[in-house]
Symmetry: C2
Subunit: 627 residues, 2 copies
């Protein structure tokens, strides 16, 4: 499909917008009228700029409150339309979006509306343009695509088509299956928007909370599949009103928009293939990898911070398992959890350290096919990375995450040296005699800037095919934290994104004095937290103290045995229980060098969350420690 | 009335909250349970801290989902309640808030609920505490105070009272008149919250958008008047869930809360006095002044910026009207508009200049009684200011605005020297032979940080008795601007507050590199903008160029005569029309020293707005000028 985006979807001046839209890979653009009004140049100038960029102006929009009016008003509206047709000629576009009347004094009369839309179609024909009629979800009389189609069909004129917009249909919980029955050639244009499910006025929702496909809760994929079934072959065009996007960097938002359309096409294609329907020209990326867990987490360190982190890892019973063959890189392992500390000069890690200090500079995913996984991520527009590799060492394909850190893909071939065998001199090749209480990395929690949460969600969903859970809000003593968890389909890789809307955090982000360059904490799994924590504490691991009042409240909320409560309290372990009786026990370390911390978790009975209800307790405890 | 606030209303740790609440002047506090859970100390420690501060713990809250449950669940709930009663004893409070059950499996049976609340009352009696029952607007069965009162009245037990919360009542558009009929001694507690009118789910609205009385749209004054009529003499306690407050400075929010209660009491008192009812102990400040316009605006300048500003004022046909008798301060006048440029060393203005550069450091309001006006503002807790005064010069009472600038109050006595005569050597005492086209200051637009918009609204409403109009959102190319206009009751003084949620502005605010220290622009009135603008332009005033496309759209929207459109276009004048046919013509200057700009406005036919629809055009034009 041709891919397009409305100028209203991104920030900046019109020239900045067009430049970013072209750079993101779009073939076309909708000119939102206000962007033209604000532009100090003629419509012909806009046309030239777009042509120079190789961008097609797909649509001019919106034209409001045309239909269901008095005869006197109709004459004025037709005059108004002809003026806009003139602008369209200058712009070099043949299509205008006409949205259903929202005025309280709309005359709610289908026959009258059909007549008036017929008059518009004739005027459009005279001007050589096509008017597309769209039902706004909050239209006074016409609210649904079925109703709009009924009118357009009744007019039955080649210069009047139907415009579909996924938001207007899905926000009303309208069924989308009727779309496939509309003749595709009568659909003049298709606009695409996703949105989080919110219980609010649909107009406000539409104007402020739309987002790109993959970032929200709507089934935009099925909507798109129905559009393809109709035979429509025109553009899919993003029209996103989002307060965050209005203030976000233009080029990043445009790039996210483009990849969100590719992702949408992949999903729609899958739906169509399942029902054995033609898939048209929908984008087909390499399939998302079947993840089998974290291969390793890599920290950028210098010698001082390496000593601190190695000390903590020692207290968590990690052992030093290997030394890199050609670089100043050390491998630590405990169970299936591998941590790499990279102090190599002149490396990516070193550059990352210069910028961020002690930080998580890379995450490696163990996948079934690393090359295919890389090609998928790169196909979605994430920048490939390749670093220095010594003789016989493994070349790991990688892409850059939104914060500039790396995501490596690793696969292993039977009977070949493993990555660690190839790259490291393993000091402890048969594993330690003593097995520690940790089994693996449970999840990684990243602290991301508030205005890049959606960018991260899209990254994890598109590049790796992760699934997203609904977002939650957690109160911090100095603001709110917006949190969203994602995971690979098999649940083996879990990432929690935390975006603080705390004023202090916003300032720190702005100043690039933000701590930890992304990592909030790493959580390790154990099958026996009540023995693991005292073992670590005996070795000197500083565990975050939890207020005693928390345990008094636990006692009031849950019928927990006294000895369990006593043990929780003694070891500063937090507790959560899900609706099916699954239980979560977790404890936090203090912060390491004021940057990030670690969590020890035990899941019982299929508990599948992250103890979100306890996050506020942890944030408050940390805030009190900082005083 | 006793004044109280819930700890959830402000940011910080529990100790920070209590300290700020005491400093703001509150007599009591509600302990929100989560704040206790997060506190690393015992409830008895909290009691001691509050006692040391002289704060009374008025209430412990909330206790949820007690009523309308199975017999088995009731037993657990009563056990849970007894545990909380123990906490209350430690805290030293005798009152707990029990809110109506929101669980989907609530048993909706008034008789059962009455029995269960009766059991709670007996448990409360045994523990020597009082349970207050509150209807949540989104309760499963009990949503209104009438329903809650029906149950409480049926229980008829001294240890069970009713809790009222203005949000729960006003968000449902429920009538408040029934409150007066409830015996005041049966009302256990009264919570107060205002909110903007929003079309959204009431739970989300309540959890994120409450605000202090005077900042929102609810008629909290009438609610409070009804509470007083009931005979209730307990505390009025603010319970505000607001995302912005959670991230705002603790002490400022607490101070705003306290003054919002004083303001609420003033309004409730006025309602009661009008209906000749007893007013109890409601706060009575000096009456708000009858404003008669801006006396002057004062800019902090050095010699360089004074020359720039004086040059612009000259192009706007201001004349240099006087020189201060003892200070390096110059007076410029045009019509009734007076501008003072203050370059005096070792002055407040100089300190302000050091901090902000060229900036608006003071606004003076001409009032009927300056002393009374000052006492009102100071009574609401705004810091008084007095500067150096020379012999025979006028002492002007003043308070500090939220940005640290000053608001002076000026009155004049018949047959006495005017302020300008007293303080200035007037160079042009009989006025110039040539009268310019400007008449007065129409309005002042201040740029305020996004998280202090509510603080400013409260400042202008309480200190000066201004009325607030609903807020509007204006798109800027790089974000959104939230705008709210306030005015004196006679309309002679108008202030527009613009809060940018643009990321760049947020950073600039955080870094204190924010331009203009508050002033966005000053608007001057004229009765003939079509002759004024060319006159100013001829003198060299740089007028902001408006895109031609704007005028093409005006032509499509309004049936304006061609010569009017041509004149608008020629002079870069913007146009707006209200629903009653009132018209607004306005033009902007370029920015002066990249700090602020000026606007020339002409109002016709009773137009009373600010051309909000054109603000986006102006913002886009300015953004393109900055490229």
């Amino acid at each position: 499909m041709q891919r397009s985006i409305a100028t209203v979807s991104i920030s900046g001046t019109l020239v900045e917008k067009l430049t970013a839209i072209q750079a993101a890979g779009f073939e076309g653009v909708e000119i939102f009228e206000n962007d033209l009004l604000y532009f100090d140049g003629s419509p012909a100038d806009v046309r030239r700029i777009a042509e120079d960029l190789g961008l097609k102006i797909m649509l001019f929009q919106p034209f409001r409150d045309f239909d269901g009016v008095s005869a006197e008003r109709l004459a004025r509206n037709l005059d108004r339309a002809k003026r806009k047709f003139d602008v369209m000629h200058e712009l070099g576009t043949d299509r205008i979006l006409v949205c259903s009347n929202v005025s309280p004094d709309t005359l709610c009369d289908d026959a009258l509306m059909t007549d008036q839309l017929g008059a518009l179609a004739q005027a459009a024909q005279a001007a050589g343009v096509i008017a597309g009629y769209e039902a706004l979800a909050w239209g006074k009389h016409v609210k649904t695509y079925r109703h709009a189609w009924k009118l357009v069909n009744a007019v039955n004129h080649p210069n009047l088509g139907l415009v579909l917009d996924s938001f207007h249909t899905l926000s009303l919980n309208d069924t989308v299956e009727g779309i496939a029955d509309i003749p595709g050639e009568r659909i003049a244009f298709v606009q695409i928007a996703d949105a989080p499910k919110l219980a609010m006025d649909v107009l406000e929702w539409s104007r402020h909370y739309r987002c790109f496909p993959g970032q929200g809760d709507f089934d935009v994929a099925n909507f798109t599949a129905q559009v393809v079934k109709s035979g429509y072959t025109g553009p899919l065009s993003l029209e996103i009103f989002n307060d965050g996007f209005r203030a976000a960097p233009t080029t990043i938002t445009a790039a996210d928009g483009h990849r969100s359309l590719l992702f949408l096409e992949e999903q729609a294609r899958a739906l169509l293939e399942t029902s054995r329907q033609p898939v048209g020209e929908l984008y087909e990326p390499p399939a998302a990898p079947a993840h089998v867990g974290y291969q390793f987490l890599e920290f950028a360190v210098d010698h001082t911070t390496r000593a601190h982190l190695a000390d903590w890892l020692g207290k968590l019973r990690f052992r030093q398992a290997g030394q890199h063959r050609s670089k100043d890189v050390t491998l630590y392992q405990h169970g299936a959890a591998s941590i790499v500390l990279n102090a190599e000069p002149d490396s990516f890690a070193n550059a990352f350290f210069q910028q961020h200090g002690l930080s998580l500079c890379a995450s490696a995913f163990r996948v079934d096919d690393a090359r295919q996984a890389f090609e998928r991520a790169a196909g979605f527009g994430y920048a490939p990375f390749s670093g220095q590799v010594g003789p016989n060492e493994r070349v790991l394909p990688a892409v850059q995450a939104p914060d500039g850190s790396l995501n490596y893909f690793v696969d292993e071939t039977p009977d070949q040296p493993t990555l660690f065998e190839a790259d490291f001199i393993l000091t402890d090749i048969n594993g330690p005699a003593e097995v520690g209480p940790l089994s693996r990395i449970d999840h990684v929690c990243l602290a991301v800037p508030a205005n890049s949460l959606d960018t991260w969600v899209l990254f994890l969903r598109t590049a790796f095919g992760f699934e997203a859970e609904p977002g939650v809000l957690v109160p911090d003593p100095y603001g709110l934290v917006r949190s969203r968890a994602l995971r690979s389909r098999d649940g083996s890789v879990r990432v929690v994104l935390n975006a603080s809307v705390d004023h202090h955090t916003a300032v720190a982000e702005a100043l690039h004095t933000y701590h930890g360059s992304g990592l909030n904490h790493v959580a390790f799994s154990t099958s026996d937290i009540f023995s693991a924590i005292p073992e670590f504490v005996a070795d000197g691991l500083p565990v975050l103290r939890i207020p005693r009042n928390y345990y008094d409240d636990l006692a009031a909320r849950y019928a927990l045995p006294d000895e369990t409560l006593d043990a929780l309290r003694e070891h500063n372990i937090l507790y959560d229980r899900d609706e099916r009786g699954g239980e979560f026990f977790h404890a936090y370390t203090e912060q390491l060098d004021q940057r990030f911390f670690m969590e020890i978790v035990e899941r019982r009975g299929g508990y599948d969350g992250y103890g979100a209800g306890n996050a506020a307790v942890r944030l408050a405890a940390q805030a009190q420690r900082r005083r």
